[in-house]
Structure formats: structure tokens, C-alpha cells
């Protein structure tokens, strides 16, 4: 696999992903879920990661946290390569990073009380004093807008999706992590609750000085919380750039397609009949050259022959395309 070049945006990168490859063997075949992705996230930054279902977002997020060991590539967290780390060293490092899942209800053990669920990371981390644990649980539940006295003794099914997501966020925050991978934290929530949770994540980020990798398939949601956005397609990055710049002037045809597809709450904007662009091909046998070429209106011979590498098209904006829009 050819490496995608690594645009360096900041010397103060908390996370640096270098030419990461993740493959899943399925029978005698291989799913090319992540194929040579490089990115950096600066301390205190939120990087949004968007792309269609199956493009490898969760795989990337899980490989960053070493919940799935990558096939190749490096993941530097605060200068330490997590991919070679084992045992206690990895366990200690894991306290500094957390994951929030898409399906808040499914990610909570239905038989355990909320107080125990939120305290679990403390137990694993070896906080033995129950009074201390209780105090920390109360603090973090209050921080996410829940009344500790009302929730600690109850079970997950007694809560709505939005409340379960608050509980998951509390659990992710309790060890004071520095970095959180938010894997579609609001996709399962409806519009009004989604706004509450997005605001909560922003508040928590400011309050606890967090750095976030924010995964979603909805560009409008990603833009609302991200400093920069990375667009992913079939295991590769198409484009990376500052959020506003990327929306104002997308360089990759796929980014443009994603922006066009956002439903606009304005009756005067008659949705343009989208080009019938079909669906992404299988990651078991990705197309040669540019992986987007089977759906791209600009594709030509070069796009089948040659894989485009990420390169700068504007300050801070990088695109992997032979015929970019800008």
C-alpha cells in the first residue's frame, strides 16, 4: 500500500497517526477497512471524521485506541507509539484515552446500576476507596447534567437515549482523559436531543481541556463541533482541512457530494436532483487508482491508473485527487 503523505499541521500534535493500515481477514479474503491513513490532532483540537457507512471510520477510531491492533502503521500519542506498547504500559496509557459509542443504550450493561457503570473505569484503574469513587461519580454525573441522587441506583432501561448518552459521557470522563474518540455519539438521537448532547460535549471539552476525534456521517453535525474535518472514503482520506474552508471550497468531488446531500431546512432550496451516484464498492476489492472513481463525475483514465496522494491545495487544506475542484 502506498502511503498517503502526512500533512503536518502543528508541532503540538497530541495524536499522530502515520500510514495506518487495518485489514480484516474474512475467509480467504481481506477487507481493506483502513488503507494507509495519516493524520494529526493538535492538543485541544477537535478533528471531525466523516464518510459513508462502511468507509472505515470506526475501524480507524478503534485502531487508534488499540482496541483493534492495526496491520501496519504507527499511532503516536503524546510521542509514544501505542502500536508497540503492551501490558501495563498500554493499560496506563489507555486511561488517558477514551471511547464514546454510537448506540448509547447498547453500550451500557443492562443489569448494572448507573452508579456502578460510571464507577467501573475507577475500579479498573485501582481506585479502592469506595467513598472516593462515590464522590467522583457524583461529580461527573452532575457535570453531564444528571442528578446523581436520582440516577445512581437505577438501571439503563429506565433512561432515554439522550440520558444514556450522558451516562456514557460521564463514564468516559471519570478518569480525566486527555483524548476521546467520539464514534457517532449523536447519530442515534433525534434533532432536539442531539443539540443537547453536542453542546454538552463542547462544554466538557472546554472544561476538561479535551482533544477529540469526532466521527459522524452527517457533515452538518461534524462542522458544528470540529476545528478541522477529514473526509474518508473506502478506507482512505479524500480531503482534510479547516471546517469552514472545506465547506466554503471543497476540493474533492466526494466532499462536494456530501455537502450537496445535506437536507436544507429551507423550502426555497429545492433539493437539486442528486446525480444518481450509486453506492460505494466493496472494500474487499476496492477499485484501482482512486477508490472514488466508480462514482466520480470527473474520473478519467489517470484516476484508474494512479492512486492520488494527499497534497496541499490551500493553506491547511489537503486533497487526494487528480482533478480537484479548486
Amino acid at each position: 500500500m502506498m502511503p498517503q503523505s502526512a500533512p503536518s499541521i502543528s508541532s503540538d500534535a497530541l495524536l499522530e497517526v502515520d500510514n495506518l493500515v487495518v485489514e480484516y481477514p474474512v475467509g480467504s479474503r481481506i477487507v481493506h477497512a483502513v488503507s494507509g491513513v495519516s493524520l494529526q490532532i493538535a492538543r485541544g483540537e477537535t478533528l471531525g471524521l466523516v464518510g459513508e457507512s462502511g468507509c472505515g471510520k470506526s475501524t480507524l477510531g478503534r485502531a487508534v485506541l488499540q482496541l483493534r491492533r492495526p496491520t501496519a502503521g504507527r499511532v503516536l500519542f503524546d510521542g509514544h507509539d501505542l502500536t508497540t506498547m503492551q501490558g501495563d504500559a498500554l493499560r496506563l496509557m489507555r486511561r488517558r484515552v477514551q471511547l464514546i459509542f454510537q448506540d448509547p443504550i447498547a453500550s451500557l450493561n443492562p443489569r448494572r446500576k448507573i452508579g456502578d457503570i460510571v464507577a467501573e473505569p475507577l475500579v479498573i484503574a485501582g481506585v479502592k476507596d469506595p467513598e472516593k469513587r462515590k464522590q467522583l461519580v457524583h461529580e461527573v454525573l452532575s457535570a453531564v447534567g444528571l442528578d446523581p441522587t436520582l440516577v445512581v441506583g437505577r438501571l439503563p432501561h429506565e433512561f432515554s437515549g439522550g440520558q444514556c448518552q450522558r451516562i456514557c459521557i460521564a463514564r468516559a470522563l471519570i478518569l480525566n482523559p486527555e483524548f476521546i474518540v467520539c464514534d457517532e455519539p449523536v447519530s442515534a438521537l433525534d434533532v432536539s436531543i442531539r443539540a443537547q448532547i453536542l453542546n454538552l460535549l463542547e462544554e466538557m471539552k472546554a472544561r476538561f481541556g479535551l482533544t477529540l476525534l469526532f466521527i459522524a456521517h452527517d457533515l452538518a453535525v461534524v462542522k458544528a463541533v470540529s476545528d478541522r474535518v477529514a473526509v474518508m472514503y473506502l478506507g482512505r482520506l479524500c480531503e482534510v482541512g479547516p471546517s469552514e474552508q472545506l465547506f466554503a471550497r471543497p476540493a474533492h468531488p466526494y466532499t462536494a457530494l456530501l455537502i450537496e446531500a445535506i437536507p436544507m431546512p429551507d423550502p426555497d432550496v429545492r433539493p437539486a436532483e442528486t446525480v444518481p451516484v450509486g453506492e460505494p464498492p466493496s472494500p474487499i476489492a476496492p477499485p484501482s487508482g482512486c477508490r472514488f472513481r466508480t462514482r466520480c463525475p470527473r474520473a478519467d483514465q489517470r484516476c484508474s491508473d494512479e492512486m492520488p496522494e494527499l497534497r496541499a491545495v490551500a493553506p491547511g487544506q489537503f486533497v487526494a485527487c487528480h482533478h480537484p475542484l479548486i
Partner: protein, 331 residues
């Protein structure tokens, strides 16, 4: 009731017995849909959208109690014998659910399911039904439709499955298609394609359509009329352009405001609606939105606002303190 209405829902109430007591899922709803017109029903999770559509289709859970009238194509569906009702569903009254697997049978091929539906409602021999199936799959944008006939639903992606469900729903040229969150489970690019597909087929067939969603963005450019539901009731109803031009009900306004805006800078806090809808087994005495409404006044807690017309008959809302009146009062 207007004689031109294909569907008229009159004073429909759906009650569900639960261990916590009676749950009123749909609370005195009136709606109409004209032939060839599109109605959007919008509201957050649990507000009763699916129960309302199931009431129209007469597909409620067994224990549910339904009252009111549902007049479709001149017939009161509540009075129709089950056999006639079954004939009607799938033929002139069709539905597409959020999860395409709700309407697809996992153990039958796509071809079998399409052909069975066609032959149940139309007099077609095997060859004609197979031909028609291929045409339908092609019409909903499925590549290589002949090969698909032999495939099972699990061999298709979510977007493709939803296309098949739509093909089946459209197969007998229904007069009304109810699409209950047809794209919520799909990606944005696929969502746009499916919504385009529905709009195109709706125009081509001059079919009426109800699109159910929790996203005002989905209905904005694609419906003639919108009904906003909250806690089982319709709280605002208007022709789509009028609604977006001048929302009157605070809930509608809040629902729109809560959507992330593309022109806002990153990290702009979203005007979220605080709290949650009331527990449907513990209905409030006053306006159901009052605990979350930033404009609530004392009367809102004690009395239920009725759905009433504003200056035009077509624009109705249920609020004591609608948006413009307040602006005037403050001026």
C-alpha cells in the same frame, strides 16, 4: 371534510395499555391529504408519528384502542372488514418503514416477494409479473435488476434494501404511500438519493405521499404541507412554504433552531430544547410543551391550547402565545 381529499383523518385517538397506565400515543389528530399531494409529519422520537401512521393503515398493536375516523378514498377504514382492508393495503395504500427488513421477508428472494405482491393484487401471469418486477427494480435505481431477482435481502446493502421495499410498495400503483422515516437509518448520500426517488415516483404516478421524519430539513423542499407533532398531538400545520416563512408555534421554531447551521462558525452553541417531552402515561393538564417552552405563561400550565387557524385557514397552530403575537407585544 373536503371532497377532494384522498385521506382524511378525523379526531383519531390511539390508547395503549401499559404497566404504568394508559398511554395516549395519538391524541385527537385531524389531518387531510389531497390526491397527488405530499404531507410531511415531523416531531421528535415518541411523539406518536408511527402510531398515527399505523392507525391509518390499521396496523396497530393488538392491545391498542383506536377511535375516530380514517376515511380513505371514500371508505371509512375503521368500518372495513379485515379481508377488504388487506386488499386495500398493498394495493392502493402502501407503506415503507424505517427498517426495510420490517417489510421484507428474509427467507424469500427479492423476485419472489415482488412477484407475489404483484400477483396478489393484479392479474398477471408469471412472465408478466417477472417482467414488471425487473421494470420496478430498474425504476428505483437498482443496477442489474435481472440478477437481483434471485438475491436475498441480506445480500443487499441497507440503501438497496430500502429501494427494494420502495419497489414493492410502488408495485401496485398505490394512491397513497406512507413513508415512515424511510431514510433515517441511511447515509446522507443514500438518503438524498432515496428522497429524490420517492419524489420522482410520486410526481410520475401522481400518487399522494406522507413522509414521516424528525428532521425539518427532510420535509422543507419536498412536501406541500407539514404537520408538526408533539406528545401525540398536531401542534402546527401549514403549507410548507408558509410554515418555514412564519412559524407560529414555539416548538416548531425550537425544532428548526436545534439543527446545526452550515453557515454558523464551528463551536457555535446550538439552541437546544432543554428537557424532554412529558411521560405519555402522565399527560399534563396544560400545553404539553410548557415545561420546555421559553415563552410559557401561567395559562399554558392550566389549559390545553386547541389547534386553530391563524390568518389563513390553511395555517393552524396550538399555542396561546404564538410567535408573531409576542413580537408585536414586545414592540
Amino acid at each position: 371534510m373536503n371532497a377532494n381529499n384522498l385521506l382524511s383523518v378525523e379526531d383519531v385517538v390511539v390508547d395503549l395499555p401499559t404497566p404504568r397506565g394508559n398511554l395516549r400515543a395519538v391524541d385527537h389528530v385531524d389531518l387531510t391529504v389531497g390526491a397527488g399531494r405530499t404531507l410531511g409529519i415531523v416531531g421528535e422520537s415518541g411523539c406518536g408519528k408511527t402510531m398515527l401512521s399505523r392507525a391509518i393503515l390499521q396496523l396497530l398493536p393488538k392491545k391498542a384502542k383506536l377511535s375516530g375516523r380514517v376515511i380513505f378514498d371514500g371508505q371509512d377504514l375503521l368500518q372495513l372488514p379485515p379481508e377488504k382492508l388487506r386488499k386495500l393495503r398493498g394495493r392502493s395504500l402502501a407503506v415503507v418503514f424505517q427498517d426495510p427488513m420490517t417489510s421484507l421477508n428474509p427467507v424469500l428472494t427479492i423476485g419472489t416477494q415482488l412477484i407475489e405482491t404483484l400477483q396478489e393484487h393484479l392479474e398477471l401471469d408469471d412472465a408478466a409479473a417477472a417482467r414488471r418486477s425487473v421494470e420496478l427494480l430498474a425504476a428505483v435505481g437498482i443496477p442489474a435488476p435481472e440478477q437481483r431477482l434471485a438475491q436475498y435481502p441480506h445480500q443487499l446493502s441497507g440503501g438497496m434494501r430500502q429501494r427494494v421495499a420502495i419497489a414493492i410498495a410502488l408495485s401496485c400503483e398505490p394512491k397513497l404511500l406512507i413513508a415512515d422515516e424511510p431514510t433515517t437509518a441511511l447515509d446522507v448520500t443514500i438518503q438524498a438519493q432515496i428522497l429524490d426517488l420517492l419524489a420522482r415516483e410520486q410526481r410520475r404516478r401522481h400518487m399522494a405521499m406522507i413522509i414521516i421524519t424528525h428532521d425539518l430539513g427532510v420535509v422543507a423542499g419536498r412536501t406541500d404541507e407539514v404537520a408538526v407533532m408533539y406528545a401525540g398531538r398536531v401542534v402546527e400545520r401549514a403549507p410548507t412554504p408558509a410554515l418555514f416563512k412564519k412559524m407560529r408555534m414555539p416548538y416548531t421554531e425550537a425544532l428548526l433552531a436545534a439543527l446545526p447551521k452550515l453557515d454558523a462558525a464551528p463551536h457555535t452553541p446550538l439552541p437546544a430544547i432543554s428537557g424532554r417531552p412529558p411521560d405519555p402515561t402522565r399527560p399534563l393538564k396544560g400545553c404539553s410543551f410548557s415545561p420546555r417552552c421559553r415563552y410559557a405563561v401561567a395559562r399554558c400550565q392550566n389549559e390545553k391550547p386547541a389547534l386553530e387557524a391563524a390568518e389563513t385557514k390553511a395555517h393552524q397552530f396550538a399555542c396561546f402565545h404564538p410567535i408573531e403575537a409576542r413580537a408585536d407585544a414586545n414592540a
